[in-house]
């Protein structure tokens, strides 16, 4: 009865737009891979680190234009994509912006729009005297890279298991569903806490934790879709010509679960962003010193609890909310468009 399970109808035009041009995938890779390299493996590149991001800048802009063109009919998606791409763009260009070093303590507790030590601080500085504007902008990198990577991995795992459970059924389904039930029985945050506490706190472990927490839900959705698609005649046709189950899953099923999955992925990106921020706030997530919204909130939560200093809390809280709002609006818009087709 749930809305997600009830919307298995693939969205042909949307799908086509996303899948047809190879260039799109190439652009996505161009935007994403440098960013991942920069954030995850940037320390290997020493000073030439910034150059890694150069190809991502035009790719991001181009993708934004393409997204605008494709989604123009849905104002919601346009607003959502604008928010998301704003932060995406910031993530790829932030090393090239004329910003103060986000980790450089200068003048503690400088209020926004004021000047101290001959530097004008648009958003003030934090308790250590680090520039809030710079930290807020730099902060998006970690959230975006780890959030998206984690969601991606969760989707790969969840989709694989979902296809197996849904298509093969039988014992596969029993076992996978039971495992998924176990994982789904945990409140998400409890699961995060347990896993991160067990594995230790790092970005890679967040990926694992998100996978554990999200993959079962993804698996359920994909399983439902697979069950639906499984009864389609083209699958029947593939079966009757003796195709291997893996071939059927990958070639016949997978492309057709894409539509609803992409919508759900946007929503889940939002959840993951929330989760990463919250985890960092709880001290379980990414570790300092590099700026990160959750960390900024955590640090400010006990240094800025008077009205005068509340900008330290509001800046990161607004930033993270705007990114999540972007993801959610994008999901809404995409769903709206897929229903319309």
């Amino acid at each position: 009865m749930s809305a997600t399970a009830d919307a298995p109808l693939p969205a042909p035009s949307l799908l086509a737009r996303l899948s047809q041009p190879r260039t799109l995938i190439l652009l996505l890779a161009l935007m994403w891979i440098p960013l991942v390299i920069y954030v995850m493996f940037g320390h290997m590149f020493e000073d030439s680190r910034d150059y890694v991001l150069i190809p991502a800048v035009p790719a991001t802009l181009l993708l934004y234009v393409l997204a605008m063109r494709a989604w123009w009919e849905s104002k919601i998606a346009v607003i959502g994509a604008t928010l998301v791409f704003f932060w995406m763009f910031i993530a790829v260009v932030v090393p090239f912006l004329p910003l103060i070093d986000p980790n450089q303590p200068i003048a503690p507790f400088t209020l926004p729009f004021s000047e101290k030590k001959d530097i004008f601080f648009w958003l003030g500085t934090d308790f250590k005297g680090r520039d809030m504007l710079s930290r807020a902008l730099w902060g998006c990198q970690r959230v975006i890279v780890w959030g998206v990577t984690a969601t991606l991995v969760a989707y790969i795992v969840g989709t694989a298991f979902g296809l197996i459970a849904g298509y093969l059924g039988g014992w596969w389904d029993e076992i996978i569903s039971f495992l998924a039930n176990i994982l789904l029985s945990f409140p998400v945050m409890v699961l995060f806490i347990l896993i991160l506490n067990y594995l230790g706190q790092s970005g890679f472990n967040i990926v694992i934790a998100v996978t554990f927490a999200s993959a079962p839900a993804v698996m359920r959705i994909v399983r439902g879709l697979a069950l639906d698609i499984k009864s389609r005649d083209y699958v029947f046709a593939a079966q009757t010509r003796g195709e291997h189950p893996i071939w059927i899953m990958v070639v016949e099923l997978l492309p057709n679960v894409r539509g609803p999955i992409i919508v759900d992925a946007c929503l889940r990106l939002g959840y993951t962003t929330v989760a990463i921020t919250t985890l960092t706030f709880l001290g379980l997530g990414l570790q300092p010193p590099d700026p990160d919204w959750g960390l900024m909130i955590k640090e400010a939560a006990n240094t800025a609890l008077i009205f005068k200093f509340s900008y330290m809390l509001i800046v990161p809280a607004l930033s993270v909310s705007s990114l999540i709002l972007g993801f959610n609006l994008m999901a809404d818009g995409l769903r709206e468009m897929s229903l319309r087709d």
């Binding site: 320390h43 980790n103 303590p105 503690p108 507790f109 308790f127 250590k128 230790g200 706190q201 001290g283 570790q287 300092p288 010193p289 640090e299 939560a301 006990n302 240094t303 800025a304 609890l305 008077i306 005068k308 200093f309």
Partner: protein, 562 residues
């Protein structure tokens, strides 16, 4: 100590008085030494010619009661509320704070580092500092109506040295000198404790120890009743003015003034007037204590960090700052690569400018440290020539050590005392960059850091305040001691330290400490940038809230002006 009973003046006190008179010892130091050797604080202050407020009433360790003091009220303090099992095995100061108003110590170290008698009325040491006789204050009443006697003391000390109990007191110099190794366990040497009479106990040590009275105010040395069985929270019999009425770990700890003994008789507290009716500790973790204060949930807090200073200033309340010997040691473990090469360590040390941290991290508060782990507030502190940053030398050393193109190092930081650890490391990183050292900062959660603090090659470890420099050096840098995180193993150092520890003459000791400190500095085992102050904030209505470098709470004279 009664005035009629004039005690024998320890020869070293006389010696000290001479030194002071000659101007070779400052008055404060004299008071300290005299008090250490059993001269009552009042007398010591009198001899030294100084009269701090708390020493006015000669025979009580607490400050004088305020004439305007009003009785009644509850002091609410924000602090982590922990369990109260066995005072001898306490591992956190918070636990002892919850206990300190119920259980008391033989001695009491005042906020300015002078140790005075508490449950003990007086003490005496023999000339070579190997025999210490403690005389108990007569008429101290337990909450159950019993009187404090020597059996209580012997019971406690025996427990502390019981290897099966696992008390950390066994590591204190005093008690370490009363145990021997037997079957792989350290057991008390028979006869080390002697009950002289009902109110007198003699401690016999294997080697001279100067810091016996200081050791007895260490937080796990609270004196329990001779019938004590853990957990304390089930049956808290103490000598203090308050008793535990409610303990919920992680939530609250409530203490109430004792008015009658458990068998219904009126209870008289030995320590004079106590004004508060109740003391409540409410659990707030360190990050939240100041906000709890800000929102009026509590009247005082355990501590707030330097990063909250600005916030604290904006709040209605008195900020209380204590100068301490608490510090951060960005220490290198010399048994591990690349720190096994002293040139690398020296390069690291010379690349850093210790003088900047005070300004950059603590906004001009605290003291500059000099990589020796002896603080200016320690009596035996010898002021070595100022450390100079020398980038060129650092580069040269690195090149000699085989790193002509610089070196990449990673320091583990646990922020165990707050995020300022990380700030220190960040400043270090920027400084070391100039010398071609690339410092990566690996920030980890505090509890994770404590799992690796003694094994990481390069880590920023926080050390707490101890009243004497020799105490810390003994605990942390002697060859093979458990807390030797640098793995420093220098016979020369150990001997020099022994020498200093047996020297009472502070000038002479200070001269000896010169060598000790010099060895430390030359070994280049750490960058020790700062002696940090500790801060707390107290509501305006709370009067007489005492600061303490170790964050020990002693609220006997605190009152609330409602």
């Amino acid at each position: 100590m009664t005035k009629s009973d004039k005690p024998r003046l320890h020869p070293k006190v006389r010696e000290a008085k001479e030194l002071m008179d000659k101007g070779r010892m400052d008055r404060r130091e004299f008071v300290r030494i005299a008090a250490l050797l059993g001269v009552s604080a009042g007398a010591a202050y009198a001899m030294g010619g100084v009269t701090p407020s708390f020493a006015m009433q000669a025979d009580l360790p607490f400050p004088d009661a305020d004439d305007e003091a009003k009785s009644g009220g509850t002091l609410r303090v924000g602090m982590q509320v922990q369990k109260m099992e066995d005072p001898a095995t306490y591992s956190w100061v918070e636990m002892s704070n919850q206990t300190r108003h119920t259980l008391e110590h033989l001695t009491f170290t005042t906020p300015d580092n002078v140790t005075q008698p508490m449950l003990a009325e007086s003490w005496q040491a023999n000339d070579d500092l190997t025999e210490w006789t403690f005389k108990l204050r007569p008429g101290i009443m337990w909450h159950n109506g019993d009187e404090l006697n020597a059996d209580d003391i012997i019971f406690n000390m025996t427990r502390w040295m019981d290897p099966d109990l696992g008390s950390s007191n066994i590591g204190l110099s005093t008690f370490a000198s009363m145990v021997e190794e037997k079957d792989g366990k350290k057991v008390m040497i028979p006869g080390s404790l002697e009950k002289v009479d009902d109110l007198t106990v003699k401690l016999k040590l294997q080697k001279p120890v100067l810091s016996v009275p200081e050791d007895l105010y260490n937080y796990p040395t609270a004196i329990v009743h001779r019938s004590f069985k853990p957990p304390l929270s089930d049956n808290p019999i103490g000598t203090g003015p308050f008793t535990l009425t409610n303990l919920k770990v992680g939530e609250r700890c409530e203490l109430k003034k004792v008015t009658e003994t458990t068998d219904g008789k009126p209870f008289k507290y030995w320590g004079g007037d106590v004004f508060l009716d109740e003391i409540h500790y409410y659990n707030f973790d360190e990050d939240n204590q100041l906000t709890a204060f800000a929102s009026g949930d509590v009247d005082a807090i355990y501590e707030f960090g330097i990063e909250q200073f600005e916030l604290a200033q904006a709040l209605e309340g008195d900020i209380i700052e204590a100068r301490t010997a608490q510090t951060l040691c960005c220490r290198m473990q010399i048994s591990q690569k690349p720190f096994d090469d002293i040139k690398v360590r020296q390069a690291v040390v010379s690349a850093c400018d210790n003088s900047v941290y005070r300004e950059l991290v603590f906004q001009g508060r605290g003291d500059i440290a000099e990589n020796t782990h002896v603080s200016p507030i320690h009596p035996e502190y010898y002021e070595l020539p100022e450390l100079k940053r020398d980038v060129e030398k650092s580069k040269k050393l690195l090149a000699e050590a085989g790193y002509p193109d610089g070196i990449e190092l990673t320091i583990d930081v646990g922020n165990t005392d707050g995020p300022w650890h990380q700030t220190v490391c960040e400043i270090m990183r920027d400084q070391m960059k100039d010398a071609g050292i690339k410092l990566n900062i690996n920030v980890m959660p505090p509890s994770k850091y404590w799992e690796v603090w003694d094994s990481t090659p390069f880590g920023a470890t926080a050390w707490t305040h101890r009243p004497l420099g020799t105490m810390v050096l003994s605990l942390g840098y002697r060859t093979g001691v458990p807390w030797n995180e640098t793995h420093l193993a220098s016979k020369e150092f150990d001997e020099a330290l022994d020498d200093a520890e047996a020297t009472l003459d502070v000038e002479a000791r200070r001269e000896k400490m010169k060598k000790v400190e010099q060895i430390m500095q030359d070994a280049a085992v750490m960058v020790q940038p700062i002696w940090r102050p500790v801060f707390t904030i107290v509501s305006k209505k709370v009067v007489g809230y005492p600061p303490h470098p170790t964050q020990y709470h002693q609220f006997n004279r605190v009152w609330i002006n409602s």
